[in-house]
Symmetry: C2
Subunit: 285 residues, 2 copies
């Protein structure tokens, strides 16, 4: 069944158009909003897609307005797809205290199993199944796709790749929450979305998944790039890049890891390195 | 007397630092905030400055986060200085109805003469005298400067150049309010800041100023570039680019005017053309 898209806005940017759409999501059972940047050179020509997963508190607009990615996508001939970070709406369960790190704006790209979140928080299925189908039905794109993201979304990108062997051509992350079962943000989110039984958490944690990957899993040969600001306030308590580099090293998984001296967790950091990441993905798309 | 600067933040971006400062402004009689992007290559080396004047509703952060200018400034070796668009604070008079187009966030870069605005709204003196002195006292800059801006700030940039012969090396504007005495935004602002006597308005209107420039005025040879989106919602009623092109043409003033098909009034428009503008200024700095 095809999804009806409602166009919220269409704005010229570089040679292309930045557009926002809303639609009813079957998996999240609510209206969702996403943005698409489509280089004009693509008129009639089908282009590969980079999916971008944003971090805590963001919606589709943060990356759209602050990263400067459209300039490079325009040059490289990439379509950018930027979903929201959670289901939205008055009927969608939020954090009981309205905290920034759970509920609205903080879906963590998992499929929730716990009441009341299971009804709407199926963000993993949304970004890996429903949204790609919508994009492929409605835009001039190829089936070649890569995925990247920031913080919660950086980890989300890696999880999407780990759990969908062969789906993406490459994956990258800015300051990902690498080991959510072992940090406060992840523990809070997983308790709420997945429940108190921590055995259910491990399949949503990139480091734990890498530890138990079967030999020959396509992830071993998937190009993977991570950039982490070394002046990031969340580095030690929440992000733990060493957990990911160690997990990769132990399994012989190649990882292009860059620690960037002086950079924090902000979009100034993302804007500085987005060009490197997009050129990295373009090589494989 | 030197001004004490309070550093609000310092964030690494590209090879340099994006910093925000507050200070007590002698001319505006309140605390003001501004941002500076300084390429790191400038350590010890003095660089020229581009001043950026933002539009209605903005503060120093809009251009800082959305335009993508630091990337280019970094490459070109330009310091960017981004002031706020008005005085601020609980004691500063605002629009009686809290409208977006007058008072806070809408100083129009004039020196107000009318009560209660005259006390704090001396934005012209702030951006052309006080702020440049602060920048030259506190940062590794040369005395070479150019100026640019958007909408209210695009006109502000042209006015700053017109009223300070020889001060700037070049001037440019994105979608400037070219002829404020003839449009609703300008008429509202000038009535409030300058009073009902429209004779006092003309020295704050770029088109009117150009009409009466004396032969040999340095403005005639000042490089001037204007870019205007042709899908801009404010084009006909507020911006009137033809008033500026006609005023320049009549006086034989060279103007690099670009009408950009399909672009609106947003920062997506600015982000698309900021590189052209910065490269334009760099030629003269």
């Amino acid at each position: 069944m095809s999804t009806t898209l409602h166009r919220i806005s269409s704005q010229r940017m570089f040679s292309g158009n930045h557009q926002r759409f809303s639609h009813y999501s079957q998996v999240n059972q609510c209206d969702m909003t996403f943005a698409v940047y489509h280089p004009e050179l693509a008129t009639g020509q089908h282009l590969p897609v980079l999916y971008w997963l944003s971090g805590l508190t963001c919606n589709d607009e943060n990356f759209s307005t602050k990263a400067g990615a459209q300039r490079i996508a325009d040059e490289l001939g990439l379509v950018l797809v930027m979903p929201d970070t959670s289901p939205r709406g008055d009927d969608v369960a939020d954090d009981p205290d309205g905290a920034y790190d759970f509920g609205l704006g903080a879906g963590f790209y998992v499929n929730a199993t716990q009441t009341p979140y299971a009804k709407n928080y199926q963000m993993f299925d949304y970004v890996t199944k429903e949204l790609p189908a919508i994009i492929e039905d409605n835009f001039n794109v190829t089936d070649k796709k890569s995925i990247s993201g920031h913080s919660m979304g950086g980890h989300g990108a890696i999880i999407c790749a780990l759990k969908n062997p062969g789906m993406y051509q490459s994956v990258s992350a800015f300051a990902p929450i690498t080991n959510p079962t072992q940090c406060p943000w992840g523990q809070k989110a997983f308790t709420g979305y997945l429940g108190a039984d921590t055995d259910t958490w491990f399949e949503w944690d990139s480091c734990e998944m890498i530890k138990v990957l079967e030999a020959g899993d396509p992830f071993f040969t998937l190009p993977l790039k991570v950039t982490q600001g070394l002046a990031d306030n969340f580095l030690e308590q929440q992000l733990k890049p060493e957990a990911l580099t160690e997990a990769c090293q132990r399994r012989g998984k190649e990882l292009d890891y860059q620690g960037a001296a002086g950079f924090d967790h902000s979009y100034f950091f993302i804007a500085t390195f987005i060009e490197e990441h997009l050129r990295f993905h373009r090589k494989y798309l």
